[in-house]
């Protein structure tokens, strides 16, 4: 199980990483990216089983990243992707879902919530 965590806040990446580790993923099995550009670069080089991304980031935001991931020719076209963001508006959730995210988590979240949302992808 290889996971990509994308967030411009290093604290958030570590918090998410901690929860993922609690689910049994080893530290060496998840990569981190601080923006969409770095994440997209990693996506082209590696194959991930799950992608967790923030929305508001410099250079390339999470929504653009999701659109890239879901674009034709992407090896991650069908990779489960979760948006973890402070954007709590209904319109934002709809926009993200239309772009192709599989699930949506509003910050602040608790570990059980993230575990619950990740569980279906971990069973596969």
């Amino acid at each position: 199980m290889k996971i990509l965590i994308v967030d411009d806040s290093s604290t958030m990446r570590r918090i998410i990483g901690n929860v993922v580790q609690q689910l049994g993923v080893k530290k060496e099995d998840f990569d981190e990216a601080e923006d969409g550009v770095v994440a997209w670069d990693l996506c082209q080089k590696n194959k991930y089983d799950v992608i967790l991304t923030d929305w508001n980031m410099p250079n390339m935001n999470g929504l653009e990243l999701v659109k890239h991931i879901r674009s034709e020719g992407s090896q991650h076209k069908k990779t489960p992707t979760l948006m973890i963001t402070t954007e709590g508006g209904k319109s934002e959730v709809i926009t993200a879902l239309k772009a192709g995210v599989n699930n949506y988590i509003v910050k602040p979240f608790n570990a059980p919530t993230l575990k619950e949302k990740l569980a279906p992808f971990f069973k596969k």
Binding site: D7, S9, S10, T11, M12, I15, N18, F109
Partner: protein
């Protein structure tokens, strides 16, 4: 507001008149046959006059000597009490400086310089970056505690395994030598030690849960950073708007502005000043 010297003098004159009147009264009293039936009234009137005068002066508060003494005593007591409380800072000088600043209003309303430490967006950005760095350091500390706790749990597991093997051995020995009490006693002690390791692991696990909770709460750092960024964005847009509204779209070259225009104040010269300057420089004639 305190009384002015004029007001004090006015009051004193009034009292002097009363004193003169009293003298006249004394003289009159010395004269036989003169019956004064207006003494009380006169005194009352004069008292009323003084009260009226006092009432007519703005800001005069009746603070008789007795009350003043009481106030002073209270102040002293309050100072003593305040002095006994840690962390109380005497900010009276600031009040006086406030008053001073009121006298130099022009200086007081001058905005700070536009140096780096006064640039609002710059400062907010520094706050966001600094808290990010500090949050990361706090996370390091929490992660360290988690890692160390993991070591404690593993050591405990090793100890428990050893205790289990000792209990097993002691039970065998106890069943083989039922008359030797020491085996039974040690089985009891070994079970107590095992219980302690279980309790320690439970405590450490509970601590770990609290650390995970703390890590979750640290998400507010990211949320607050984004709130700061939202404020920064508004300020940046406002700056662009203000620049746009104040900018000169005429493309005319900047006009050199006059430094002192007639009527500005004492800085400007009059005809006489000009004549004086000319004669001083020996120009003209």
């Amino acid at each position: 507001m305190s009384m002015t010297q004029e007001e004090i003098e006015a009051l004193m004159n009034d009292t002097a008149v009363d004193a003169e009147e009293n003298n006249v009264d004394d003289i009159l009293a010395d004269i036989d046959g003169i019956v004064d039936d207006s003494d009380d009234e006169t005194n009352d009137e004069s008292e009323l006059n003084v009260d009226d005068i006092l009432a007519g002066i703005d800001g005069i508060v009746d603070d008789s000597d007795e009350e003043e003494t009481e106030d002073n005593t209270t102040e002293v007591n309050m100072d003593d009490i305040l002095a006994g409380i840690d962390g109380i800072v005497d900010d009276e000088p600031e009040t006086s400086s406030e008053l001073d600043s009121q006298t130099t209003t022009e200086e007081a309303i001058l905005p700070p310089s536009t140096s780096k430490e006064h640039k609002i967006v710059n400062q907010l950005n520094e706050v966001a970056e600094d808290t990010e760095e500090k949050a990361s350091q706090i996370f390091d500390v929490l992660s360290y505690i988690l890692d160390e706790n993991e070591k404690v749990i593993k050591s405990n597991d090793v100890s428990r395994e050893f205790i289990d093997s000792q209990i097993e051995l002691l039970e065998k020995l106890s069943s083989k030598f039922p008359n030797i009490d020491i085996f039974q006693e040690n089985i009891k002690k070994a079970n107590e030690a095992k219980e302690l390791t279980i309790q320690t692991t439970d405590i450490v696990n509970e601590e770990n849960n609290k650390i995970f909770e703390a890590m979750e709460i640290m998400q507010y750092h990211d949320i607050n950073r984004q709130k700061i960024e939202r404020v920064m964005s508004v300020i940046k847009k406002l700056t662009q708007y203000l620049n746009g509204i104040f900018e000169d779209g005429s493309n005319k070259p900047e006009v050199q502005v006059a430094k002192h225009i007639s009527g500005d104040g004492s800085e400007t010269v009059n005809e006489e000043d000009i004549d004086n300057l000319i004669s001083e420089f020996n120009i003209g004639n």
